[in-house]
Subunit: 656 residues, 2 copies
């Protein structure tokens, strides 16, 4: 019979499977921020009863050598191993799992059993010596010296008992185990991590239209004038100031106030109809000012601790320079005209979509990347991407990776409101954050189910939610009808449920609730007309916003989502949940009355003993600064929306 | 800016994910038998709102061209697509999913909306003509002619209305859709299927020691003599007769009766201590007869409809010819002796394990494959593999694939009783069937949970259970203490829960319940001594076995496991479940009293309306031939173990 030639990996006895976290079999990276842990688990086993060793291997993708941390067998019956490591630097990381038969450990276990049973262990001792010498052949320096001394000691042991004792010594075991024979080790496939800065995970966003920052109705504010608003926004405690598009606005098919099909001569048009003879995606709308004014705006914001986010709306008005200079980047109808946007039978003749599949798609993709880099070079590192789900997934995956490779500080927020699998795919493709369905989740079951899905299932590995209370497109019925308490409720929910949250102001903090009847659109929306606001309009909730943003900054439990946990409370209008820091030094319990119109009360069940608390404990309402005593598991909550519809309670740690 | 060169697959807009069934990301094949369905589901989506087309592609692995069946969008909100195909021939199959943007369907949907809204569709009609001509360029023969006629009809339409109507025609749609442009289609990775004959999925096994087939105590029966038992076994309705090893038995360290450390001069030894000067794994123990006697035995069994299964115990007695001729296939201790089997501190000096990692491992693997092929050439196509979990996974994966490639009829049953992940891995590596924990699952919660896991979770795609009531190693306490009803209970459970089941006889049908005290070992086990049995010993349950095996053959619902469903019954000692054929033409409800000592009664809740039944319906107890009327959902069951501890009921289909 002719000799079979089999691959040497057939000699790998160990199987590694079900490695977690892993997105789509490793097709996409998971996401982390510096100093965050990656908890890794895997099912690892081999034939027979040999012991195994296993490690996590990880490295920044640019480095050649792996760092290693051990995996421990946490559930022997299910062959489940656990371990963790911490990522440190921005950019790509790689990780995998490697495992091999622990020959020395297996030998040691068996020697111990045989010796205890009084069996002859002469052969075992010979084999042990060979295994230690083999380890020594892989060791160097002080370790090699140590191993040599051990071998000598074993050889020269005065009697069998002391020889066996020396062989079973746990220091020897640790030493030998550091130099295993891994020639037949099994290595899992390499998985990826995108490490982004903390702002990807945690931040408070404020969205505004700079042109409406003035105080005179129907008079567009310049960026210079808009700078006067920065102090107020910064004082409220926001981290990111996201500007509606600031580029030249097209005139063709320009929409009038309240989305009227035709604009009047003085109507400014929608900032999302980008491009005019004055320029396109790399230019500033002239009524706002110049690129230098923009630079000044960014710098002033930065002085106040506000980071500017720009809108990436990759679409063009018919007047965009691309239409003249690169007609090949658009789809053409068979009558020779360029195809406008449509959602049949609706037409959007003021918008030309770009054709990401045009014959010259590579030059289009390059140009769009260049747009991003243009603004990065002007100091903008956060981009809110308009309707990413109408552009190919592969485009975003390529763009974000290319940009982050050179500028790893850069963050992208996906504004996709569509089917869940599409939103998840965009997150997988690299978006740092994602808009969510939060705006439409208002009842206790809706909020509980949705938040559990976002924070407790696999999707948390790559989708970071950003909970916006409202947007220029979404003034939810709850806000339209619930009065000032509704705004307070949604603010507190967003800011305590989401490590990332945002408001669109000033309409939000001024409790603006007038909608186009039967829709979620704002009446006299800033999208289509210049508004001017009394930024101190009576009834505003700026004090509450300031308070909640300060609470967020001071309490690390609110900087993460993973620890979110809902509690039983015997009232369907009351929602109660906690976020906790990993070491339980920071415990924030939030109780919210979801009913903006009535007082609601109930008894909440808290896992106080899991938090190390016994009997009485102090709770401190960070919104009112009241302190009171709670006791045990069951405690009474009553919330009057006219007063304040929520408690945000810090619970004193058990440790003094 | 230099032009980026991007891979053309970046132009694939469609994402295909979460394809089911799939084992470990496609690393291992799923399993099927001919005529079985493969239900495929996948999450498929792309950017924007374009419609998609998707197909399953499948083929026998040896063929080049794919067959295709469509996938249908079954859950648009979740982008979930479903489809199915049927495998026909033995051997490997491959399948995958392909999807592309349905340009014509999208165009047609939009045309319809625009036309209904009264918009001008001149451009749309031009585009439609182009799309149809493009389809025609991919069509041939009659289809091409049809498409050309359609183009002419469209061009010559008398007015806009009739032209649009012709463009929206559903026959045209079907025709064009058959010739899509797939140049930018996305194709999922290729997945595998192992198609094995029906006996892999469905069969009744009988295990025996041929040497104990005689009627004289302590006198080994020959194969010729054992042939006399074939008729009785066949009459009971078994499909497979599995023989304990029939090879020459070693003398060194031979064990005596009841596993005594030393055998007496006339003790026959354990058949699993394989190998003596008379030969090894390709030889017959001389006291059983010759290879010709074996051939005769196989042929006689075949005449009676019994298929012979042999034991593959890849280990050697110290007297095995391999020890002399291939000492390099064993592990050597440092004193030069060969390492015997051990489970420290226990020693098994009568057994030398083979070293699957020895330097010359490839020649060892080849030889073991040759052992299998040796018996295949003598007409044996089923192998029960002894302790496969003590040999490397890769060995089995290689061996089974190699053997089945040439002899696709061949089946392998894994006798591994170890941790679940190890047992699952062996199934993934190709074992056609697997022993299970069934023997140790005796209570209602244990049986329900375990059977749900085996039949309703992903593992069903590759692990086919074979429920043995007992084995030479396992006489469970339930059988030891429950008397004859316990044997009846376990028989009926095994035979109706498992499409594959087996008994070890004659001890089982004779209700032999004497164990070595405090163990699951049979007293005076056939493993270590010759037994002779009165095969008609009073109290036997051969009639019940015959009945249940006939019921199994006549009722296709019992040939599968997937449809298994447990019902609520208000008595913890009563277990009630059904198996149904896909078309509901065969519905078998089994109710078992798990308590062998007491009458038990309760009300069972049946999903009668899901079975198309209304009000009264007839149930036919196939064990007693009684027929009675049941009504609606809730029905009374009372079972006296002294009488018969189970009903096996055929429920008349709603259709007359």
């Amino acid at each position: 019979m002719s000799r079979t030639q089999l691959p040497t990996e057939f000699q790998q006895r160990v199987v590694i499977e079900n490695v977690q976290p892993e997105v789509d079999g490793g097709r996409f990276p998971i996401k982390r921020c510096p100093a965050e842990k990656v908890l890794v688990s895997a099912t690892i086993h081999c034939d027979s009863s040999d012991l195994l060793s296993a490690v996590i291997q990880y490295r920044p993708a640019k480095e050649k050598s792996w760092k290693e941390v051990p995996l421990e067998l946490s559930n022997p019956g299910m062959d489940l191993w656990d371990g963790e490591f911490i990522v440190e630097t921005l950019g790509r990381y790689e990780y995998t799992v490697q495992s091999w038969v622990d020959t020395f450990g297996t030998w040691r276990r068996d020697l111990s059993k045989k010796y205890e049973a009084g069996l002859d262990v002469t052969n075992e001792m010979l084999l042990g010596g060979r295994l230690i010498r083999a380890a020594a052949s892989r060791a160097q320096g002080a370790d090699l010296d140590s191993l040599r001394r051990r071998i000598d000691a074993l050889t020269n042991a005065s009697d069998k008992a002391s020889q066996v004792q020396a062989a079973l010594d746990s220091d020897l075991f640790s030493l030998v185990t550091r130099f295993p024979d891994r020639t037949q080790a099994t290595t899992y496939r390499t998985l990826g991590i995108t490490v982004e800065r903390e702002r990807a995970r945690y931040g408070a966003w404020y969205e505004m239209f700079p042109r409406s920052a003035g105080s005179q109705p129907d008079r567009a504010a310049t960026l210079r004038l808009a700078e006067q608003r920065l102090m107020g926004i910064a004082k409220m405690g926001f981290d990111v100031l996201y500007l509606a598009p600031i580029h030249p606005i097209g005139k063709s098919f320009r929409k009038g106030p309240n989305n009227k099909p035709k604009a009047g001569p003085n109507d400014p048009g929608s900032p999302w109809a980008i491009g005019s003879p004055e320029g396109g995606h790399k230019d500033i709308e002239p009524t706002l000012g110049t690129l230098e004014d923009f630079d000044h705006f960014v710098k002033e914001a930065d002085h106040l601790g506000l980071e500017i986010a720009l809108d990436l709306a990759f679409q063009c008005s018919p007047d965009h320079p691309y239409v003249q200079n690169h007609p090949e980047w658009f789809r053409h109808r068979l009558d020779g005209t360029i195809q406008y946007a449509e959602n049949p039978p609706k037409k959007y003749e003021d918008i030309y979509p770009l054709d990401f599949q045009c014959a010259d798609w590579q030059s289009l993709w390059d140009e769009l990347k260049d747009v991003v880099i243009f603004w990065i070079k002007r100091g903008v590192y956060i981009f809110r991407v308009d309707n990413p789900h109408t552009k190919p997934y592969r485009f975003w995956e390529w763009l974000i990776r290319e940009v982050q490779e050179k500028y790893p500080k850069t963050l992208f927020l996906a504004e996709a409101f569509t089917r869940p699998k599409v939103m998840e795919q965009l997150a997988k493709c690299g978006f740092s954050q994602s808009y969510t369905y939060f705006t439409w989740r208002t009842t206790k079951p809706e909020l509980t189910e949705y938040l559990d899905e976002l924070t407790q299932t696999e999707i948390k590995e790559c989708l970071r939610p950003n909970f916006f209370t409202n947007t220029p497109d979404i003034l939810h019925e709850f806000l339209q009808k619930g009065g000032r308490p509704a705004f307070q409720i949604r603010l507190i929910l967003a800011a305590t449920l989401g490590a990332n949250y945002g408001i669109y102001g000033p309409p939000f903090e001024l409790c603006e609730n007038r909608a186009v009847a039967g829709t979620e659109d704002y009446l006299d929306s800033e999208k289509y007309q210049i508004r001017s606001w009394d930024w101190d309009r009576p009834g505003h909730i700026k004090d509450l916003i300031t308070k909640i943003n300060n609470i967020r900054r001071e309490n690390p439990a609110l900087h993460f989502n993973d620890s979110l946990r809902f509690f039983t409370i015997n009232n369907e209008n009351l929602l109660c949940y906690a976020k906790t820091s990993a070491d339980l030094s920071n415990i924030i319990v939030t109780a919210v009355n979801l009913d903006p119109l009535h007082v609601q009360a109930g008894w909440v069940q808290l896992p106080f003993s899991e938090w190390g608390l016994k009997g009485d404990y102090q709770v401190h309402d960070l919104l009112t600064d009241h302190r009171f005593q709670w006791n045990g598991q069951s405690n009474f909550v009553q919330l009057d929306p006219i007063d304040l519809p929520a408690h945000v309670l810090r619970i004193s740690s058990a440790k003094p």
